[in-house]
Amino acid sequence: MITLEEVKGAVARFLSEKWNVPVSVTAISKIFGGASRETFRLTLDVDGQSKRVIIRRDPPSSLIDTERALEYGAYEKIFPTDIPVPEPLFLEDDPSYLGQPFSVMACIDDCQTDVSTLSIEARRILGEHKYQILGRLAANNPIDLGFDSITPVPELHHCALEQLNYWRGVILDDEIHPQPIAQAAMRWLGSNLPPPAQKLAIVHGDYRTGNFLFNTQNEITGVLDWEMCHLGDPLEDLAWSLDPLWTWGEPGLAGRLLPVDEAIEIWCESSGLVCDRIALKWWRIFVALKAIAIWISSSEYFHHGEGKDSILAMAGWVMTDRQNKILLDYLMPHDLVDADLEPEPEPEREREPETEIESVKGAHQ
């Protein structure tokens, strides 16, 4: 485990070498909650000028098996576009500085990620901005932006199956106990593949409330956490952003911001794409399965990996529990919903209206 003092010294030395001017660290804090990388916020004195940066350091264990080069490369390619992201500064693979590879990004100041204290109107404004940005991301040509140099380029008709196979493998590799609900979802998804993607798009992979920064005008100033970025079907990001896990306790609002149908409408206008509801249904079930895979992996890392971060246990235990309920809502035959249930001491999460989820009730009958 690296101490804050060690990070301060190493970063000052590294940036002094890179910028060829004296650099000292005047303040440092570690940001809680990042399960994939250790994240530090530093205030620097750069030859008399104050500057703030973010350091993302590879941990001994990670929630998601990702290449830091992919995430950094995505920032580099997105930064010149109209999608707001922090400016990438350096990617360092040499572990001699911080004991692990790391990246350096410019800090976006005076922003937050927590929407829970916002008014309904503020959330709506933020939600409109969120889905406009996601639409613009989907509208981009990933080859023009050079994404083919950092990530594989799938065929349009393989996008869904490739993602399903990848995350199915993660579940089978990392599950500690057998997962009957996830297994049922995998079988359904494999038997009901969606039509080919309408276009090849940059898929952020974790586009949700909490993974972007916004300012006091409710403008998004930075989309973060591109480590699961890949090329694929643009509906995947839309579906991920709509997953009920991100609206836990506030069903019906996409990412706790605005109604699901409005979010989809804004995305369609901004992207110029159509939202095939049948295909979206497949992607919504898929993203719930993908999320389960991530939570199962975090539990596996917690139990067998080097890192024992509490956030890994939280994700592995609580999120798996909730995501299983979401999948059950999607997959359970319609005539069995609410039947033969033992009374629960706490109220169940409300079911989302049919127009939002259109679950695949009856699929297994």
């Binding site: 057998p178 235990w317 359970m332 069995l336 033992e342 706490e346």
Partner: protein, 145 residues
Amino acid sequence: MIPYTDQALRHLSTRLMAQILPDIGSEYSMSDAALVGLLMNAIADEAEEGIQRRLEDISEMREIFVIAADSLTVAELELVGAELRSYRLSDVNQLHDGMTRILIELQTRNENKSEAGPEGVKDITNAIWRYLKRHAGRHTIRAIP
């Protein structure tokens, strides 16, 4: 032995969050300690009820396997009829996992023949879904909001 194991964990969690946490200097460590405290409460619930929940699962799965006995292999039937070796969590987990794997197999087989299958197939499929719903509700982690 440790008396009232679950309560002991809860007491230690309370001590962590109410007395140790406020004296922690960094914001990061405070958040970490708070989450550890919540997780300790979840583990306390599991210590108190985890074995019972698993045994209820096993009992309900056995009921399904009795109805579906004709669809099970000899090896599967042997496992279904196996005695629980002890009430240690590891032994209960082993039997629970084995039965869950059979349940997955049974559900998969039923899906493959459900279109033209007899009415009994649908009954078993529905029984599995009902079980999965009860299983998910039974294992809900309530200690963390």
